[in-house]
């Protein structure tokens, strides 16, 4: 039982940044902009959060990591505006713009580390998030062990974001317009709603969420920001977005599954029957499944139709 609850708890913790970043990708893709810059935005968010924390922990005490991730989110939002500007206003290729941002992010953050801390990483912080037993809820038998013991509160933030996102996209006027911008932009335009504005908002929200997630990742898992802090979680989130069929609850499921398969890799060595299977196989499972999912979805038009396409008013 202890083993199972460890695996579940650790999977949820592992999944937290994937969920939040994939939700960010969801807003962006639903509005019609492919955002492969998620990884780079996470790097920026992580850098800002990890820079703020050691410099201010004496002032804000236990609130420091919360303020830090909000700042990380803001920084991510700002950073994503570059992507929005380049791909919406300048009509550049969205994939190229995203790739540029990914590459830029490492250079610029390490550069600022050098300026602020005279080293190529941030100063170690003492007050990251701390794993906590949630009061009352952790006393519930079984469920308490699985979901409320030794958890980071940030997981519940991710869960709340999933519910909010599902609600916004499905039940609000704004959500309808956002989705329409990614499905059929000329229809949106024809009723007097600016596609450009909707897409800007979509990218901005994706930046805020990816920045938030980057901050959470570094403050829950490490003791400082380094160039390897994010190590591809942004790309895994994109896979989770596809595997989750561009849908908030799908993203939640896919992310937790991805988290589970990573954690399972680490535990599989101790499970007698599985010990002989190379751990790498479990690690590869999510990506193999993502490729299979893409093959299946490619026939069914699951994703936003106009995602990745420029919206050109003159061609209406």
């Amino acid at each position: 039982m202890k083993l199972i609850s460890s695996i579940v708890t650790l999977s949820l913790i592992y999944a937290t940044p994937i969920i939040i970043t994939a939700l960010g990708g969801l807003y962006s893709e639903r509005s019609g902009i492919v955002n492969i810059a998620l990884e780079g935005i996470m790097v920026v968010g992580a850098f800002v959060a990890a820079t703020f924390t050691p410099l201010n922990e004496a002032v804000f005490g236990n609130w420091t990591p919360w303020i830090a991730i909000l700042l990380g989110a803001l920084a991510g939002g700002l950073y994503s505006l570059i992507h929005a500007f380049v791909s919406i206003d300048l009509r550049a290729d969205q994939v190229i713009s995203g790739t540029a941002l990914n590459m830029l992010s490492l250079g610029i953050t390490v550069y600022f580390c050098q300026i602020f801390f005279n080293q190529q990483r941030t100063k170690t912080f003492n007050r990251g998030f701390v794993k906590t037993n949630v009061p009352l809820l952790s006393d519930i038998p079984i469920i308490g062990d699985l979901f409320f013991k030794r958890m980071y509160y940030t997981f519940y933030v991710a869960l709340a974001l999933v519910i909010i996102t599902a609600f916004i996209l499905k039940r609000t006027r704004f959500g309808l317009r956002l989705r329409a911008s990614g499905e059929h932009p000329s229809a949106v335009d024809s009723v007097g709603v600016s596609v450009r504005k909707m897409r800007y908002i979509g990218v901005l929200i994706s930046g805020l969420l990816a920045g938030l997630s980057g901050g959470i990742m570094v403050l829950t898992q490490a003791t400082q920001f380094t160039a390897g802090s994010i190590h591809g979680i942004g790309f895994i989130s994109l896979a989770a977005l596809i595997f989750g069929r561009w849908n908030a609850y799908g993203v939640l499921g896919a992310s937790i599954f991805f988290g589970f398969s990573q954690i399972f890799t680490i535990f599989s060595k101790d499970i007698p029957l599985l010990a002989s299977v190379p751990a790498e196989i479990f690690k590869a499972v999510p990506y193999v499944l993502t490729i299979i999912a893409m093959l299946i979805f490619s026939r069914k038009n699951v994703g936003p139709k106009a995602s990745g396409e420029l919206y050109d008013v003159s061609k209406r």
Binding site: K2, S6, L10, Y14, L81, I82, F85, V86, D89, L104, G107, I108, V110, Y111, Q114, F117, N118, Q119, Q120, T124, N126, G128, V130, K131, T132, N133, R150, M217, T220, Q221, A222, T223, Q224, T226, G228, S229, H231, I233, Q262, I263, I266, F267, K269, A279
Partner: protein, 368 residues
């Protein structure tokens, strides 16, 4: 708005260009000199300053940068210490910082073309580039730390990590015994012979104190994945491991983070750091740290010694192993989490290794 965004973009891009090329291109000097003392470098040989040639030394850092509190910085400190001790003009020593692997060959060539008396390359990342440089500049004397390139003009300094790891193994076992625990753990970066040396020494050190102690061993499979490091640590601590010795670089940050989280929740767990004194990274409250002690590599000692050899005209290619006796490995001078009694015991074990009474095997029992 459009103009502003364009400007901002241009600014960002130019900053990134600076970040890529700027600092690496110029040679930097650190002239400040205090007085020749070092806590970590030992030199018992009295040398007349005048008998030494006034040499020039160039250090090329790997991507970690000069302030990495680890290899690059330690090596530079060794060179600086040498320069201070023997009144070398500040302009005689200098370093070039590499921001990517592509910088290694240009930087090494630059120093070689400047005809530095000694070229220093810390860390295994230089292996490929040094093969080329040693062939292109056969007269250039080169000190290569922590790995081996076979060339007549390269002196390879290796470290007996297994001996240092033995000592932290002793520390771990003493601490665990004291707390009434019976399991300690090892988290490695990647499973190959260099890292296995850490595992082997740790294992033998633990068993030397308590033959009944259990040792759990696992590898992250990556040196830069704090996430998996944290998960592995969580798994080990859940399984009753009391002290984890990590030799996992950036992944080790996750191990430290997990220990900090647990200690803040009232659990009693410990981590042993690697390569440098990691005490400050384990601080969770005031001055309390989860770092029991750390296994240090004396890159500064090696750099210092080889500078001196070069100045004496005794530089020879080949491989030198910096072991405990040569002050190449060890634990920090100051260990707030170890009692004096334990430190004494650790020193006794160290003396046995130095005298040759104890021989530490670099291969873990798991592999044999």
């Amino acid at each position: 708005m459009k103009k502003f965004l364009t400007l901002a973009l241009v600014l960002l891009l130019s900053l990134s260009l600076i970040a890529c090329g700027g600092e690496g291109a110029k040679e930097e000097d650190k002239p400040e000199a205090e007085g020749p003392q070092s806590e970590t470098i030992i030199d018992n040989e009295e040398v007349d300053k005048d008998s030494l040639e006034e040499i020039t030394i160039g250090l090329v850092t790997d991507v970690g940068g000069i302030d990495d509190k680890s290899f690059n910085q330690g090596t530079w400190e060794g060179i600086q210490f040498y320069a201070k001790k023997f009144d070398l003009p500040a302009s005689n020593i200098g370093y070039l910082q590499s921001t990517s692997d592509a910088d290694y060959i240009p930087h090494l060539s630059q120093f070689s073309e400047d005809k530095k008396d000694l070229l220093v390359a810390p860390g295994f990342l230089f292996e490929e580039s040094l093969k080329k440089i040693s062939a292109d500049f056969p007269d250039q004397k080169i000190l290569f730390l922590d790995a081996v390139v076979d060339a007549p003009n390269i002196l390879n300094a290796l470290f007996a990590e297994h001996e240092g790891s033995y000592l932290v193994g002793v520390a771990a076992a003493l601490k665990a015994q004291d707390a009434g625990k019976d399991t300690v753990g090892f988290v490695g970066g990647m499973d190959f012979d260099t890292i296995q040396k850490f595992e082997a020494g740790f294992e033998q050190g633990v068993l030397a104190v308590d033959p009944d102690m259990k040792i759990v061993v696992d590898y992250v499979g990556d040196f830069n994945n704090a996430e998996d490091g944290q998960t592995l640590a969580a798994k080990m601590y859940d399984a009753g491991v009391y002290v984890i010795y990590h030799a996992a670089g950036g992944s080790g940050n996750g191990v430290i983070k997990e220990a900090k989280d647990r200690v803040q929740n009232g659990e009693d767990v410990w981590v042993i750091g690697v390569d440098k004194d990691q005490y400050s990274e384990g601080v969770y409250e005031g001055n309390k740290s989860v770092i029991l002690t750390s296994m240090l590599k004396g890159v500064d000692q090696a750099a210092y010694d080889v500078c001196k050899l070069t100045a004496q005209g005794k530089f020879e290619g080949g491989t030198v192993i910096y072991d405990l006796k040569a002050n190449g490995v060890g634990i920090p001078a100051d260990n707030p989490n170890l009692t004096e009694e334990w430190t004494k015991t650790i020193n006794e074990f160290a003396d046995k290794i130095k005298s040759g009474e104890t021989v530490v095997d670099p291969v873990p029992s798991r592999v044999k």
